[in-house]
């Protein structure tokens, strides 16, 4: 196995008396797609927020390419190669789709003209080019989720955190987005994805990490994890005799 790109070590995040993430450890290797699943409130988004720098961990640490990045702010991590999307999408509504992507492109292309060129490539790739001059607020939900991915991609990340980019889309749009994610992996981007739709997560993930009440309860290939009694219990509850 090559060196892991991301190492989460004994990560704990408390909010006052609530432990949202409790002693979680796992690794992500280059070019892997790792699915992070668990019931509502399991701590997936909190874990994402710690890894992407929005929260500092209460205990434990996060290593990226072997370097401790715990507590580094999001804009520093973006520079290091970590891109992320938000479950509740965050377009810049008053700006055009193109401007949204240009802003993200500034990270690698500080000159306006170069950033705009790069933004058009991202728009082509995410199939948003025909909507480039619309305001971001005018996009459909599918469009906004696509824009969210586009903005993360414009950062030219090596590691991408995708938070429920499929939820709320219709089946055609879902297939479309899955295709896009697989294309990204083929380009060499490592992906950690949170998703509720099992059909999707089972299909695209190389490995799954399962959280419940902030703790890791299982890890492994999708088919194995799906049979794990602990996971079944967490999702469906215990069968009463």
């Amino acid at each position: 196995m090559p060196e892991p790109i991301l190492e989460v070590e004994n990560l704990t995040k408390n909010f006052g008396g609530l432990t949202a993430v409790n002693e979680v450890s796992f690794r992500v290797h280059p070019r892997e797609i790792v699915g992070l699943i668990g019931p509502n409130g399991a701590g997936k988004t909190t874990l994402f927020n710690v890894v992407s720098g929005y929260y500092a961990p209460s205990r434990g640490k996060v290593l990226f390419h072997g370097k401790d990045i715990s507590g580094k702010p999001p804009y520093v991590l973006a520079g290091r190669g970590i891109g992320r999307t938000f479950q509740v999408v965050k377009p810049f509504p008053g700006l055009s789709v193109l401007e949204n992507i240009i802003i993200a492109s500034f990270l690698r292309h500080p000159k306006r003209v170069r950033a705009e060129e790069h933004a058009w490539k991202v728009l082509e790739f995410t199939e948003l080019a025909d909507r480039a001059h619309q305001s971001a607020a005018s996009l459909t939900l599918a469009g906004r989720k696509r824009l969210e991915i586009g903005k993360a991609l414009a950062l030219e990340p090596t590691f991408l955190l995708l938070d429920e980019v499929v939820a709320g889309l219709n089946p055609t749009e879902v297939d479309h987005t899955i295709e896009l994610i697989l294309k990204l992996r083929d380009q060499g981007i490592t992906i950690l994805i949170v998703e509720h739709i099992m059909r999707v997560i089972m299909r695209i993930s190389d490995r799954l990490v399962v959280l419940n009440f902030g703790q890791k309860i299982a890890e492994g290939p999708p088919e194995e994890v799906a049979k794990d009694p602990g996971v079944v219990e967490a999702y469906l509850g215990v069968e009463k005799a």
Binding site: Y54, P74, Y75, G83, F86, P91, I103, R112, H133
Partner: protein, 311 residues
């Protein structure tokens, strides 16, 4: 289209350069000078209000700092006007840098309160100090040359406007600020440091405001805490910006001209009803927020370049 906008701005600027050649009436030239000053104060206010979404109710503090530093250096230290005003601008910028660190982490309304309180504190400080002349104010050496002051004011405001136009509408900086305004967390994920950007905008707003304050002090030859540090400077700039159209640079210019014209006419004919002016100002701002959310500029077609609203 962008180039057409720039040539439009340059044309207006060129026309303004010709005003002293046409207007020989001293009083009228004073009115024009003050109009240009308010354009400057509105545009500097807009950098923060329109591009980052932060309303600075202490804008007068920068104006007053510039005015007082210029006055003190000229009167007490015998400096020439130009270096004194430049240092006034630098002092205002430094003030923004220091005030920005704690306050720009606050959300909108808290920032407005904090900057307002800070400006009041500075005003009280100036009232109590000896070097500023306290409540008696300061008298500066008089230079009776209306044309000179018109050109100095226009030069400062013009350079400020075109520098802003380039930085905010052409260079990446403006888009980055807008990203922070629209969604701070989303901007952070894209590698932008929101606090740093907001502080840069704050300083960018403060420096020319300080210089304009310096020009004002030398021009009117007498300053006191009320005329330079009072609420009216901030309030009036806010009304001009909101009325004209926030975050557009052109809007505040239009707003400044319209509100200032109204003010001048009001003072000329209805000065007995002084108290009415503030009431009307308040009414205008309330009405623009409700009826003209994008300001006067928003009523004109082609308001947002590049964005077609399909919503």
């Amino acid at each position: 289209m962008k180039d057409r906008r720039l040539s439009g701005h340059l044309l207006v600027f060129a026309a303004m350069l010709l005003i002293p050649a046409v207007v020989h009436d001293t009083f009228l030239l004073r009115v024009f000078t003050e109009a240009v000053m308010w354009i400057g104060l509105a545009v500097t206010f807009d950098v923060l209000a329109g591009y980052t979404g932060y309303l600075n109710f202490g804008h007068s503090a920068f104006f007053g700092i510039g005015a007082y530093i210029t006055a003190i250096l000229m009167v007490r230290a015998g400096w020439h006007f130009a270096p004194a005003a430049a240092l006034g601008g630098a002092a205002a910028g430094l003030g923004a840098l220091i005030a920005g660190f704690p306050t720009l982490r606050l959300r909108g309304a808290y920032f407005a309160i904090a900057t307002w309180a800070l400006a009041r504190a500075i005003q009280q400080g100036v009232l109590m100090m000896d070097i500023t002349g306290g409540p008696d104010g300061m008298r500066l050496p008089a230079l009776l040359s209306p044309g000179f002051f018109y050109y100095i004011m226009l030069g400062v405001v013009g350079v400020t406007f075109f520098a802003y136009w380039f930085l905010l509408e052409r260079a990446p900086f403006g888009l980055k600020l807008k990203a922070v305004r629209e969604d701070e967390q989303g901007a952070e994920a894209l590698g932008l440091n929101p606090t740093k950007l907001k502080i840069q905008a704050f300083v960018l707003s403060a420096v020319p405001t300080g210089i304009i304050g310096g020009v004002f002090a030398y021009w009117v030859t007498f300053i006191d805490p009320a005329s330079t540090l009072g609420d009216l400077v901030s309030d009036q700039a806010l009304v001009m910006v909101v009325f004209g159209g926030m975050g557009t640079l052109t809007g505040p210019v239009i707003g400044a001209v319209l509100i200032f014209t109204f003010k001048t006419v009001f003072w000329a004919y209805l000065s007995d009803y002084e108290v009415l002016y503030l009431i009307i100002l308040g009414g205008v701002i309330a009405a623009s927020v409700v009826f003209l959310p994008d300001g006067v500029l928003g009523v004109l077609p082609q308001r947002r370049k590049g964005v077609e609203d399909h919503a």
